[in-house]
Symmetry: C2
Subunit: 224 residues, 2 copies
């Protein structure tokens, strides 16, 4: 779909890669940010710390996702980001992003699509936090991740990788650790999901979509 020249430029972006250890921050809220990051391998979280160890995870970044796309050449980060798993990133100068998207309209459209998508994902997060019950939040998040993986993997069956701890899940879904555990058990007991180390199996996707009011339309593939 892309021309050779376009692909060459995109690959050129990956010249400057770095690895980040698990639990290590690579974007720090309120600090200077002059870099755009593309996730190549692993999971990252965007989050914000509140007082006394309280934390809100805002979103997950998976391979192919971009962090800091709208950094001008000087900006202050409005969130922190850290590696949930060992992470491989490409670090790109935001001026190069602009330059490339001006040269290649299709890439520009792709970036625009990325932005709209990230926006939709964060909107879904607000819906979860604002209007869903604990069980619904869990189901809704699993469905989001399952749909997102469906777009970057060949066949993921009914399994979703869940590398985060229940503490992380709780901080994502705005609930306590104990209640997260309770609600997860309740989903298990209802037969809706099966849980094993680092994976969750969605036993009845249709029922999960129904009970959590998930809208798959928010996560569709890029098309121009």
């Amino acid at each position: 779909m892309l021309s050779e020249e376009e692909i060459e430029f995109l690959e050129g972006l990956q010249n400057n890669t770095l690895t980040v250890d698990r639990a290590q921050d690579f974007i720090v809220e309120n600090a200077d940010l002059r870099t755009t990051f593309i996730v190549i391998e692993g999971w990252a979280i965007r989050y914000s710390d509140l007082s006394t160890g309280r934390r809100q995870i805002l979103s997950y970044a998976l391979p192919g996702d971009i962090l800091g796309l709208h950094v001008n050449f000087r900006a202050t980060a409005t969130y922190s980001a850290s590696a949930l798993t060992p992470l491989k990133l490409a670090a790109v100068d935001p001026r190069r992003v602009i330059e490339i998207s001006q040269k290649f309209p299709i890439i520009a459209a792709g970036l625009s699509w990325c932005t709209a998508r990230e926006f939709a994902i964060l909107g879904d997060q607000a819906i979860r936090l604002g209007r869903l019950s604990a069980r619904q939040r869990l189901a809704h998040l699993f469905l989001e991740l399952w749909h997102r993986f469906a777009l970057i993997e060949n066949d993921n069956g009914n399994w979703v990788e869940i590398p985060m701890t229940q503490r992380d899940l709780a901080d994502t879904l705005g609930m306590s650790l104990v209640h997260t555990n309770r609600s997860l058990k309740s989903l298990r007991d209802a037969g809706l999901v099966s849980v094993s180390k680092d994976y969750v199996r969605l036993n009845d996707v249709k029922a999960l979509i129904e009970m959590s009011e998930f809208n798959p339309e928010h996560l569709t593939e890029f098309q121009i």
Copy 2:
């Protein structure tokens, strides 16, 4: 700051304006969206409807704010938008947005800043919904609106315009109508805010910032 030519183009965008009555939708979730809207006058809300009349308001759009900035020429809206007050909008073809931002790098940087800001505002909304108590949510939202108005008005004193009903506030903050009323009373009783029709007075901004863990850094002015 901008050249004459730049200003001329920006004003050209306002050729195609429209007015929207209170409570009327102009973007409908899951429907086709081919237009970018700039708010010229009034308030809009972005929201999503759930089953049985439940609703989550995602954000407020004030004069100068842009909706649907990252619509490619064909897209499906992932949220609805409607007029909270009588509204005046500029409707812009997203292709023109791209064209103009390619011609004028400063405008492109401004749009990029708009996007980052909208993102930060939605992140703050997630923090409110996920990790703040009812009283904190109210205070935090008032502070957000107060700071945003401070950037577009000369002097707004300690007053914030609040054209929304308590039903709207409840749907913004993910709480019930009754509890919204209760918590608002509690803020009043504590002397932190004074409420009169369509306005709230922030009696002690510093205390409100402290008690709601508001971060003013997320809402700074555009600078290049």
